[in-house]
Subunit: 125 residues, 2 copies
């Protein structure tokens, strides 16, 4: 995955901890970057594709296995996969005839942590 894609999620590539939604108001730049990732998730076909990829034992899926699950053309599926990739949620590699996709769990975990309410620093704070 490129550094550019990582930055789409509003995090540095160092994996450092991130602001949570409920910590403080987002500035415009943070909101624009995070909105790109959530927009990529905001489509049923893309969510199904991502869950098919992320839940695959072994970690990667041939595009030839994804397309038959949908009543959509190959170019349409490829377009949705491209949007997921541009959002930094999956990556891919061409091998011979087919392209193989895998999820980037770090990116999903960071988005998940962003949505989850921060735990108070002290147990009773």
């Amino acid at each position: 995955m490129s550094k550019q894609e990582l930055e789409v999620l509003g995090q540095g590539a160092d994996g450092g901890c991130c602001q949570a939604l409920a910590t403080a108001p987002l500035d415009e730049g943070q909101a624009a970057e995070l909105a790109k990732a959530f927009k990529a998730l905001g489509d049923p076909v893309r969510l199904r594709l991502l869950s098919m990829i992320a839940s695959r034992e072994g970690g990667e899926v041939c595009v030839c296995e994804l397309t038959p699950a949908f009543e959509l053309s190959q170019p349409t599926i490829s377009h949705h996969l491209k949007l997921l990739r541009q959002a930094g949620l999956i990556d891919c590699e061409r091998r011979g005839t087919w392209v193989y996709y895998w999820a980037l769990p770090g990116a999903l975990d960071r988005l998940g942590a962003f949505l989850t309410a921060p735990q108070p620093a002290g147990a009773t704070a």
Copy 2:
């Protein structure tokens, strides 16, 4: 929050644990419901509004305090707030002249948990 809004997040109202993205492929119904919530998050203005509401000490914010942060009309802000409410992420109440908004952290936590990779059942499994 209405039961209908809770169901937008693809969960029952009982707060029971939910399928994670990486557990198994989503079916069409689950994907359609979850996509609505992520689509609501997929806009920078809505993300900023939601973070302003969710991070507010005391838990609620008057719409009169939200609008001045944006160079957008009151009806536009109200439309974005309506979409967040329809997605089950916030709720509101009118008191006199103004409407007051608060976040629904349970809904955000469930979406966050959905994105976060499931932990193996055994520590080293």
